[in-house]
């Protein structure tokens, strides 16, 4: 075990890369979740159809293959991405597809009364969603986003297959150099678990912040 821990600078670097992939992937996923999720409830059929195609494509095919496609196939057509970008796009687009379902579900969960109240105050469609519906939908989607964030963090391990030196890649290096198999993987298993635990805590804090002073699900009832 000490042999493995002697590689700590590398392990730390790998952890940082994994966190980077997670944070960047989460940003991409978040943006896509909202764009695709809100497109699903667009009044325009073409936009709704495009969103469904996106969702079904990314949900219905392997994230690993998508990443290989972006990193190995697109260059054949003259489109180049560095490994980190390819990994972030693949992970973000994938998790974004699931996230869009959370956005759509949460927006649809906001009571019909809120739509009517907005109309009675003469809010435009944009103003209604921006100031009334989405602020109430966000606390509803946060728990699902939390789960997806953990999924995303674990998914970043596939990036080790396109030369990114994340935690998993580092474990492979250590394995080759020390001829140990159990120890390096045990160490990164624990590190992944710690990162996930921290993410859960962060999401809890965010959830608290968004629900402060509010009782969104039950308000409107007597």
């Amino acid at each position: 075990m000490n042999e493995v821990l002697a590689f700590y600078p590398m392990l730390i670097d790998g952890t940082i890369v994994t966190i980077q992939l997670t944070v960047l992937g989460a940003i991409v996923a978040l943006v896509i979740s909202f764009i695709v999720g809100l497109s699903r409830i667009s009044p325009y059929k073409s936009i709704r159809v495009a969103a469904i195609i996106y969702l079904e494509f990314f949900r219905g095919s392997s994230a690993l293959v998508q990443m290989f496609f972006i990193y190995f196939v697109l260059p054949m057509w003259g489109i180049y991405f560095d490994a980190i970008t390819a990994g972030v796009i693949a992970c973000g687009c994938n998790v974004g597809a699931y996230g869009s379902e959370a956005v759509r579900g949460a927006v649809l969960a906001v009571d019909k009364d809120q739509h009517e109240a907005s109309k009675a105050l003469n809010y435009s469609n944009y103003e209604k969603y921006r100031y009334v519906i989405i602020p109430q939908a966000i606390p509803i989607m946060i728990p699902t986003f939390g789960n997806l964030l953990i999924e995303l963090m674990k998914l970043t391990a596939v990036c080790s297959l396109i030369t990114i030196t994340d935690l998993t890649f580092v474990a492979q290096i250590i394995r080759v150099q020390t001829a140990l198999t159990l120890e390096p993987f045990l160490v990164i298993l624990v590190v992944y678990f710690i990162i996930a635990s921290v993410l859960v805590k962060i999401v809890d804090l965010i959830a608290k912040k968004f629900s402060k002073g509010r009782n969104v699900m039950t308000a409107g009832d007597k």
Partner: protein
């Protein structure tokens, strides 16, 4: 005085159920109207049509001298566009049975936000107006509470303040006390009585509070089966109804009437 609201042969069905059947109705500017009648008689539908929450199947509705659900385009009358409806909604405000406050905003933010967005008031202007209205509805000490921290009666008073802040020509009150516990009904009705006597806003209220209807209204309409069965001054309708159906309906409320 001119008619600020006019329904001409308006029909509306929900599936097979005809809620309004060639309804004709005129409301004068500044008039306070109480709509009474059994459930499902179409009273609430009238308010919802005026607030553009329900479309009409047939006929014409005019508000402030303009068609609500139609507009003129090169001399032809066509169904109203969203732009037209947006313009027309500025004349009208509505208070709902279930209050429908925005739960993620405090009471005062509920009243400020629509002013800032729709009336293009600055934040200080909106705040000043909101505070004035909280005074009117007697909620000065509750303005920083979230809706779920308020009682039903308080929430409904915030909702009234929110609608008033938009300064509509016409206010619609849809069974605003029906969702309240009995002991909270009076605090809301008191506000409405004050509004009725102090302002020249046209008000239409759907209510099951007969005592209130009698004091509040210049004119009472009794609805049944999508039609106005009887219309007249409250003292006539309540003390001496002409129609058999009105008599039967009021009999059920006899304890409230006397």
């Amino acid at each position: 005085m001119n008619n600020i609201i006019q329904f001409e042969n308006v029909s509306k069905s929900f599936g097979d159920l005809k809620v309004l059947n060639k309804l004709n109705l005129e409301v004068k500017d500044g008039e306070k109207l109480a709509l009474i009648g059994p459930s499902g008689s179409g009273k609430t539908t009238i308010l919802r049509i005026l607030m553009t929450l329900e479309t009409i199947d047939d006929g014409f509705v005019s508000v402030n001298g303009e068609y609500l659900w139609h507009e003129k385009n090169n001399g032809k009358i066509i169904p109203a566009s969203e732009n037209h409806l947006h313009k027309m909604r500025n004349h009208i405000g509505m208070v709902f049975q279930q209050f429908n406050l925005f739960p993620h905003l405090t009471a005062i933010e509920n009243v400020e936000q629509p002013q800032i967005l729709i009336k293009k008031r600055t934040k200080p202007e909106a705040k000043e107006k909101a505070e004035e209205l909280f005074n009117l509805v007697g909620l000065n000490d509750k303005k920083d509470h979230y809706p779920h921290e308020l009682s039903g009666g308080q929430q409904q008073r915030v909702a009234i303040a929110r609608a008033l802040a938009m300064e509509p020509k016409i206010m619609l009150f849809d069974e605003v006390t029906s969702a309240l516990d009995p002991e909270l009904v009076d605090e809301v009705l008191t506000v409405l009585r004050k509004l009725a006597s102090d302002t020249d806003t046209t008000m239409l209220t759907v209510t099951h509070e007969m005592n209130f209807a009698r004091e509040f209204a210049d004119r009472v309409l009794f609805f049944d089966g999508g039609q106005i069965v009887e219309s007249g001054k409250p003292e006539n309708i309540f003390s001496n109804p002409a129609e058999k159906r009105t008599k039967e309906f009021l009999k059920k409320f006899i304890n409230n009437v006397n």
